[in-house]
Symmetry: C2
Subunit: 249 residues, 2 copies
DNA sequence: TGGTCGACTTGATGCAGGTCAATCAACGTT
DNA sequence: AACGTTGATTGACCTGCATCAAGTCGACCA
């Protein structure tokens, strides 16, 4: 696996400037010197195999991670309940923001496929942020963006139909792929039906059925984990669809 | 800015040291000088009447607010959908974290009853945070706490029964009241059934029915908006209750 | 004193989607 | 080739809760 010699020597430590995610990653907007200081605190990237855990719930919180390639899921285990999948992380997204200021990681994060992540020791990041207002801003922005994402998710889970949830989910993925330069129409689902179901608060059979229905309506074409969005328009219609729970007050 | 001259006069500008929320508020852990600098950026507290809006969705984002007394709700309006209540804010909680880094406020916040809030212009807060690591830390911590809270909410909305949602909701409120020095057993719901229903992703009739059932089981006593938790144990049992959606994989 | 409004409760009904169960396809593994 | 395993699909059934609808209880006003 790679030539990867010493510890943090050259081949491993990434040059952010060259990274394809440059435009969507944490150090976005940093000056050149700042960028170099930033690069200096990045640990050698970790390679993860499918199913391998990046962080385990309850471990002491020490690092943030940025996904370079591949994808991961976060899930939290609650007392007597089944686990809940809370996030899927795609390249450029930051893992661990929800543990800042806590002693321990509050969810487990595992790779859904082979993945690389950049490791950022949080204390060093914090020190650096002390000197770099831009970096601070980026951190705030990331967290606040995640807050908004979670709220959108809450809206989704709160009284949307299975169709709406799936449609939104697919559109959301599509959008994220587009933003990263991949095709927004045709992609591979790295997560299982069961992960999707859990994430969306549905039974996995329902996910299967709804996808099948979408398919026979000609909205999507799905074969296993290969997904093609044929008719974005109508997907958006499905996602909106003002039925749901009774009106206002 | 010590003896506090002109600007917007004395009675308003709060002394954090004397504030009863001191121990749970943003400036927690600041040194005395730091605290004074912090106080200096607080605008004169706003008084809100029931139903009055503190921020409106889409307005330019400029301030964070800390609730001093009373309570508020945040709701976001989406395209063709009914509004979704995303938060209830109690004294000591910070309004607006989810808009940081955005141009506009992404939800409306209105008072559920007479309320006071401290206004913190965000740019000044940011400048101050540049010099006060403690304050920075507090900001991070607040945001990250909110992230965790949202995630807990997502878990709640994702495949918990109406009973579990209500039970968790009541316990959550109870906990927050306790933390603020109020009775955790007996409190007034400042929000309507419809707000609760919307927040929990239920129909308001369901809320009504479940509360009635809890009452006849002797778990709570509820009369209009006066709520008494009679049997916390059994509420916790209800909140846990491992039924829900099918198990793991 | 009655009228109207808003917040809440209660009853009856139907359906979306959860649950149980069987089957199948794609893999390794031996 | 036979086997187990894991993920996905599909069918049949049943229940929790949304929905529709009516009724109650104040509070406020004329």
């Amino acid at each position: 696996m790679k030539p990867q010699p010493a510890r943090r020597s050259s081949p491993g430590v990434p040059r952010c400037e060259r990274c394809t995610l440059h435009a969507r990653c944490l150090p976005l907007g940093l000056e050149l010197d700042a960028l170099h200081s930033f690069e200096a605190i990045i640990q050698v990237p970790q390679a993860l195999k499918r199913g391998q855990a990046l962080v385990r719930q309850g471990e002491p919180f020490e690092n943030l991670y940025v996904v370079r390639s591949g994808s991961l899921k976060q899930s939290v285990a609650q007392p007597g309940q089944r686990d809940q999948v809370t996030h899927f992380y795609l390249p450029g997204e930051v893992v661990g923001l929800d543990a800042i200021g806590e002693a321990e990681c509050h969810g487990s994060v595992v790779a859904l496929e082979s993945a690389f992540v950049c490791e950022l020791p949080f204390t060093r990041l914090e020190d650096l942020a002390e000197q770099l207002p831009e970096l601070r801003g980026q951190l705030y922005r990331c967290m606040s963006r995640e807050l908004r994402r979670d709220q959108r998710m809450m809206c989704l889970l709160s009284g949307r139909t299975a169709d709406q949830r799936l449609a939104s989910f697919l559109l959301g993925l599509s959008e994220r792929f587009r933003a990263r330069g991949f095709s927004p129409f045709c992609f591979r689902l790295s997560m299982s039906r069961s992960d999707i179901a859990n994430y969306l608060g549905l039974a996995l059979e329902t996910v299967s059925r709804v996808l099948a229905r979408f398919q026979e309506q000609g909205t999507i074409a799905v074969a296993g984990r290969e997904m093609t969005l044929l008719d974005i328009e109508s997907l958006e219609g499905l996602a909106r669809e003002g039925v749901g729970l009774r009106g206002v007050n």
